[in-house]
């Protein structure tokens, strides 16, 4: 399998060169929510609950 640049690096370049800074917070929130949903289904769920 070829070594490719990571998605985050590509996205970072894209945001900088196109000056589309508004994308960054949306992606961060989406990734955090995604991570919460995934972790919510694992043994880490009780610890997430205590965070809130």
């Amino acid at each position: 399998m070829a070594r490719r640049r990571s998605f985050i690096a590509e996205l970072f370049d894209f945001i900088l060169s196109n000056k589309t800074y508004f994308i960054a917070p949306i992606i961060i929130v989406l990734l955090l929510v995604g991570a919460l949903i995934i972790l919510g289904g694992t043994k880490a769920a009780p610890f997430i609950y205590t965070l809130f």
Partner: protein, 608 residues
């Protein structure tokens, strides 16, 4: 240098292989998977392209995807933000797929190619791919380029110039202002499926009067003199919802959208005629502007709107350009070919020499089957066939059957790339038979009886039947049937409306003459397709008529047949009389019974 072009993940995924600038192979994935407009990674098409080129993925030097995913993602986010909080539902529906797949295309492409490819992956823009597919295979050294479609990343329409080995796009119209989406909005309003029913709307238009055209111009679209336009978004719902139109749009046209199984009324026909008239108006104005701005005499077209052959025919007749070349796979499937050509010429800066005939090779770029493979498949389904080793004998035999009013399924040579069957995966019939259109529509294709069929005519003979001298090898130009070939109007013809007009005699070739006396013409040359040319020549020798009905070899909702086995099943489960696959000829009467007709029809009709 081997370059693989890919289009995928939206609709009509496809692959194309270009070697040192020559198009080796191109195919659409739906043919392999038997799922119409299949959007998945084109594994079957890639496998075929590599086989046709005699290479493996490890031999590829470059892979090119037909659009830039991050730019498209930016457009999506910006649109959702502009309409927030409306559009939350489509946003949450779209995001998982984007985050899992569409934003990780290099990974998905590597996975699709089986992990053996380590070379670079390029991304052209969507309209660069369309423009490249229009200009690089064309016969022109320099030409104006016009691409129009639904939407790519941001651009929905663009124009520019192609010169030598370069294309330069000079201007564009951006989302949400889109001629393709406007046409699709009306397609959906009239009860047809977006991205596939646009043809039906175009076929419906001649039954109606364009009485809503002014309404469309007044409320929906503002058209400038240079053909640029803006859509009034208050009437549409595609930015923030899962439908094309909204209540305000429906109120404007006097009713809610037609349900797919609802009867088509005169109002729907008039709506279709109106949007067709407006579309033609915009295309003509844009082409006029491009002609003035570039000063060039030739035009290349691509993008889904370039499949509107009625508009193309009008563009040709208006004489704005001396010659027009349209990419036969003008939709997104053609983006795969365009992307590969873009990489070879634009990115790698290789020299280009245009050819007199174009380098699309009749668009016969798809798979073909050897005689042995054909016989093995036919034997496997216990088909009873006779072998005609001599091509001339076979052409004579086919012509004899056609002259007796038989419907012949013809499967030979390489499959066509693009939505039109150009004689290699075609159903053929006698265009002079007044019952042919109805028989083919209802007993073979199981589709709406209002839809017209297209004529294939020997090249050089088109002007004897149609008001057209230009060649049209890809069936992308509509021309009127010559007045002297039209039927005299009978008493009462004037009073007929809507589908009743089908009952009026139209011309001496009624099966291929639409109710407005137009026909979507394909000119057939011996160089591009020797077999199809021989059949037409033999048919003319017998009947004096150098034309045949040519429609795609499939039933409604089914992708065009891919293998000899598909062709045999389609033959057995419809009222087709004769089937020719390669050098094997089969007559319905001699075949063993084959159960499963109902299931066969249902699996495709349900998807239409």
């Amino acid at each position: 240098m081997n370059i693989l072009g890919l289009s995928a993940f939206y609709h009509d995924s496809a692959a194309a292989l270009v070697r040192d600038g020559e198009i080796v192979a191109a195919a659409q994935e739906e043919r392999f998977t038997r799922k119409k407009h299949d959007e998945r990674f084109p594994e079957g098409a890639v496998r075929y392209c590599l086989e046709a080129g005699g290479i493996t993925t490890g031999d590829l030097d470059a892979v090119v995807f037909y659009e830039k995913p991050l730019l498209k993602f930016e457009r999506l986010l910006e649109t959702y933000l502009a309409f927030a909080p409306r559009g939350l539902l489509p946003f949450f529906r779209a995001m998982p797929q984007w985050l899992q797949t569409k934003l990780h295309l290099p990974r998905e492409i590597d996975k699709g190619l089986g992990g053996d490819y380590a070379g670079p992956i390029y991304f052209s823009t969507h309209h660069e791919a369309h423009a490249a597919s229009a200009f690089f295979p064309s016969p022109f050294d320099e030409a104006a380029i016009l691409t129009m479609d639904g939407v790519g990343e941001w651009a929905t329409t663009s124009w520019g110039v192609g010169r030598g080995n370069r294309i330069e796009l000079r201007a564009e119209i951006c989302f949400p202002h889109s001629l393709g989406l406007l046409y699709s909005a009306f397609t959906s309003y009239c009860g047809f499926q977006v991205n596939s029913g646009e043809y039906k709307l175009m076929g419906l238009a001649p039954y109606g009067e364009p009485r809503f055209s002014d309404l469309i111009r007044r409320h929906l679209i503002e058209i400038k003199d240079d053909g640029s336009f803006r859509l009034d978004q208050r009437y549409f719902h595609y930015c923030q919802g899962l439908t094309m139109t909204n209540a305000r749009f429906h109120a404007l046209f006097g009713g809610s959208p037609r349900k797919p199984d609802e009867k088509l009324t005169q109002r729907h026909m008039d709506v279709a005629a109106s949007i067709q008239a407006v579309t033609e108006d915009v295309v003509l104005k844009m082409a006029g502007h491009v002609r003035r701005a570039t000063g060039l005499k030739s035009l290349c077209l691509a993008g889904g709107v370039a499949l509107n052959c009625v508009a193309n025919g009008r563009l040709l007749r208006e004489g704005l350009f001396d010659s027009i070349w349209i990419q036969p796979a003008a939709g997104d499937a053609g983006g795969a070919l365009g992307a590969a050509l873009w990489c070879w010429y634009q990115e790698q800066d290789n020299p280009r020499r245009s050819k007199r005939e174009d380098s699309q090779r009749g668009s016969y770029l798809g798979p073909e089957f050897t005689s042995q493979a054909v016989r093995e498949e036919l034997d496997a389904v216990h088909a009873v066939y006779e072998v005609h080793a001599k091509e001339e004998d076979l052409a004579e035999e086919i012509a004899a059957e056609l002259a007796q009013g038989k419907i012949v399924g013809h499967f030979a040579g390489r499959a066509e790339f693009g939505p039109r069957a150009l004689g290699h995966r075609s159903l053929l019939g006698d265009p002079r038979d007044p019952e042919m259109q109805n028989r083919m529509n209802l007993a073979i294709k199981f589709r709406e009886s209002f839809r017209p069929f297209a004529p294939a005519v020997l090249e050089g003979r088109q002007s004897g039947y149609f008001e057209m001298t230009a060649e049209s090898p890809y069936m992308l130009l509509v021309a009127p049937v010559r007045p002297d070939r039209r039927a005299r109007r009978a008493p009462g013809d004037d009073k007929r409306q809507g589908f009743e007009r089908l009952k009026s005699a139209r011309s001496e070739i009624p099966a291929v003459t639409h109710v407005d006396h137009s026909a979507r013409v394909q000119t057939v040359s011996a160089e591009r397709s020797p077999r199809f040319h021989a059949i037409l020549t033999a048919f003319e020798r017998r009947t004096g008529c150098p034309l045949l009905v040519n429609t795609s070899f499939n039933i409604r909702g089914e992708p065009i047949v891919h293998s000899p086995g598909d062709a045999y099943r389609c033959f057995m489960f419809t009222d087709m009389d004769v089937l020719v696959v390669g050098d094997c000829l089969m007559r319905k009467a001699g075949q063993p019974r084959m159960p499963g007709a109902e299931e066969y029809r249902r699996q495709f009709l349900d998807r239409d």
